[in-house]
Symmetry: C2
Subunit: 364 residues, 2 copies
DNA sequence: TCTTCTAGTAAGGAGTCCTGACTAGAAGCT
DNA sequence: AGCTTCTAGTCAGGACTCCTTACTAGAAGA
């Protein structure tokens, strides 16, 4: 709505941004190559390089071209330009990775967790993991965090919803990580990150829904390439969505598993092994219940198709698909394409984008 | 992701855009006032004005300042800069308005429709209405259309969904209006436009859901200020959402009204007068059914609150609110703030934005 | 050894924005 | 009435950015 003010400073800043982004993509380039990549004339690139090297963001890598003509000098991002933290917090443990602006994973560490998760132990594991991937060049610029619980959109804190299992527990990642990072800390739900990974890597397109079925139940709606977050960040928490239960009774999704006695003792978490070992009749009931959830998703969000992920979500697409096909409006159901550390993949991609933006913005 | 190429042309274009937008906001301004409004120096404004008057987008309005110092000349957008069409197509009739770039309604006409709507009659009424608001200065640049049926996101055609009433019928507004407009024709569902009007004018915020309850059933989810459209544009078509019916049975929303015998004869449209005259027990069932829909909306989209609109939606917030309050996750329910021609209000706002963008883009 | 080719720099031109000074012209004050 | 004050718009000059063209340095190939 309000376009930026026209000024010569804007032009200069855009030139620098083009040069930096080209270097981020390619790793190292000569001035001549940069001119081609960035679509800018050689003299202008030279001017920009002078500014960026002075600012300490770009350095001569020492490498030289070998070819016909005069040897060229390769330039690349300075190591001190900054790194990003990509972190995943799940009931099984904490994973922390440090990335540079090219997207390379520099360090990685994991810290197991015991169950049930106790807040102070989770916090300690998180801090320890971050300490372990510390680097010599100084603090990271940005951090991106995936958590296996609902996340408050504004504060980034983990939230406990009624009748949903609290897998990770009371935690404030923004507060814990503030000391290790100079820029923004982004926190979101693991299902949302997995959906973003599916969008980026799978052939999922820009409008689909990702339904996660594990101990907890979650859903991410991707519309026009963006994950729907909602007012408080609790979009996709489908535990209370009303669907078809045993005997055709209407009941909240989570209570279907209570009615089928598929919950873990003294918890609202689903007993996944028991579910996977259940008989065909029980699975049919589950299929119908999931199909009801899918019907709601299709009615409200109109996805091109639905991706099923999670420990048991990837095991039941046929049962669910069969029940779903009976409904008047249905769309294809397919298992997730990104299976291995799906949410961490989404976190990495965001951390990289966020780091690059931070570096671009850093040059005053 | 890909920033624009830095060039002096970019600067010039930005200056012109600032000047044009200031003129659109204020109506008429002197060069000195423009310099202040647009945040640009006086000589630069003069240069920009020279270009824009040459392009025919800006004219001397003939007015002069009266004040202490030298008299100034007021400049304004040229009438030939362009106009926009704002159109609403509902079962009751077609409304067409012509707006200028300041948002003033220049002409307005309505064409009644007989029921049930027949496609060729609707098309004729639409064409007649557009002809009636024709202006002497030439064709409109853009058109924005609201239709009381689901709209295909890509083609703009009206779509008939199973078990939903087809109120307007087979119609291709983009094709019909192409002859009257040089720029884009935007078509969307009336509920989506009403939700946008609610966002702009009411105190609805940027994350809410608008549930429309009339002869047809609709819902618009506004997230981060944007209306969720979905893959084919059919997001919010809640007729098949599974909810609680009579006797606690799970059934699609639309079938609740069939079970209660509240449908119009030989149609899936709801008999609104009968519904409003129904007894407390029937209303309680309806309240529970709507609450089930709201539960799905809250679970999937996490709105800050829910707005109820439509002929009978604004009559039942208490009944619905009571049933909704029993559910574990509920949010405030309120009637719509924009009651009168809500969707046309949303259409107008979009037509204005679209026209302004088209004018900005027009200056090559 | 000479030619060919390429990386990087230098020089000059075009274009844009800004500041500050200047002119024209009307309103208000004495 | 005449002077002062104030404002709209223009002019001149400076700073800056980008581009094209030409040039230099230096290595590989013939």
């Amino acid at each position: 709505m309000t376009p930026v003010k026209p000024s010569l400073e804007l032009l200069r800043s855009l030139s620098d941004e083009h040069v930096l982004r080209a270097l981020m993509r390619a790793g190292r380039l000569t001035r001549a190559e940069l001119a081609v990549q960035a679509g800018i004339s050689k003299p202008t690139v030279s001017e920009s390089m002078r500014r960026l090297t002075e600012a300490g963001l770009v350095v001569d890598t020492g490498d030289r071209t070998t070819g016909r003509g005069r040897i060229g000098t390769y330039y690349g991002l300075a190591p001190s330009a900054g790194t990003a933290l990509a972190i995943s917090i799940a009931p099984a443990g904490v994973v922390a990775e440090r990335l540079d602006a090219h997207g390379t994973v520099l360090t990685r560490t994991t810290r197991p967790l015991t169950r049930p998760a106790r807040p102070e132990l989770v916090a300690a594991a998180l801090t320890a993991a971050v300490e372990a991937v510390r680097s010599a060049v100084g603090p990271a610029r940005v951090a991106t965090v995936s958590a296996a619980d609902p996340v408050d959109r504004v504060t980034g804190r983990l939230v406990h919803l009624p009748d949903a299992p609290f897998l990770v527990g009371e935690l404030d990642p923004v507060d814990l990580l503030a000391a290790y990072v100079t820029g923004p800390v982004t926190v979101d739900n693991d299902v949302n990150w997995a959906a973003r990974a599916e969008r980026d890597q799978g052939a999922a397109g820009d409008d689909f829904a990702y339904v996660y079925l594990g101990e907890g139940l979650g859903c991410a709606v991707v519309s026009a390439g963006e994950v729907l977050r909602g007012h408080a960040g609790l979009a996709g928490e489908i535990a209370h969505l009303i669907t078809v239960g045993p005997g055709g009774r209407a009941m909240p999704f989570t209570e279907v598993f209570a009615a089928l006695r598929l919950r873990q003792p003294s918890s609202t978490a689903i007993d996944v092994p028991a579910l996977l070992g259940a008989g065909a009749d029980v699975l049919a009931v589950i299929g119908t219940a999931v199909a009801g959830v899918l019907a709601a998703t299709v009615a409200l969000a109109d996805p091109a198709h639905i991706v099923l992920g999670g420990p048991w979500g990837s095991e039941v697409p046929d049962v669910v698909g069969a029940a779903f096909a009976h409904l008047p409006r249905h769309v294809p159901v397919r298992p997730a394409a990104v299976a291995d550390e799906a949410s961490l993949a989404g976190v990495r991609a965001h951390a990289l984008r966020s780091l690059r933006d931070a570096i671009i913005a850093a040059r005053t």
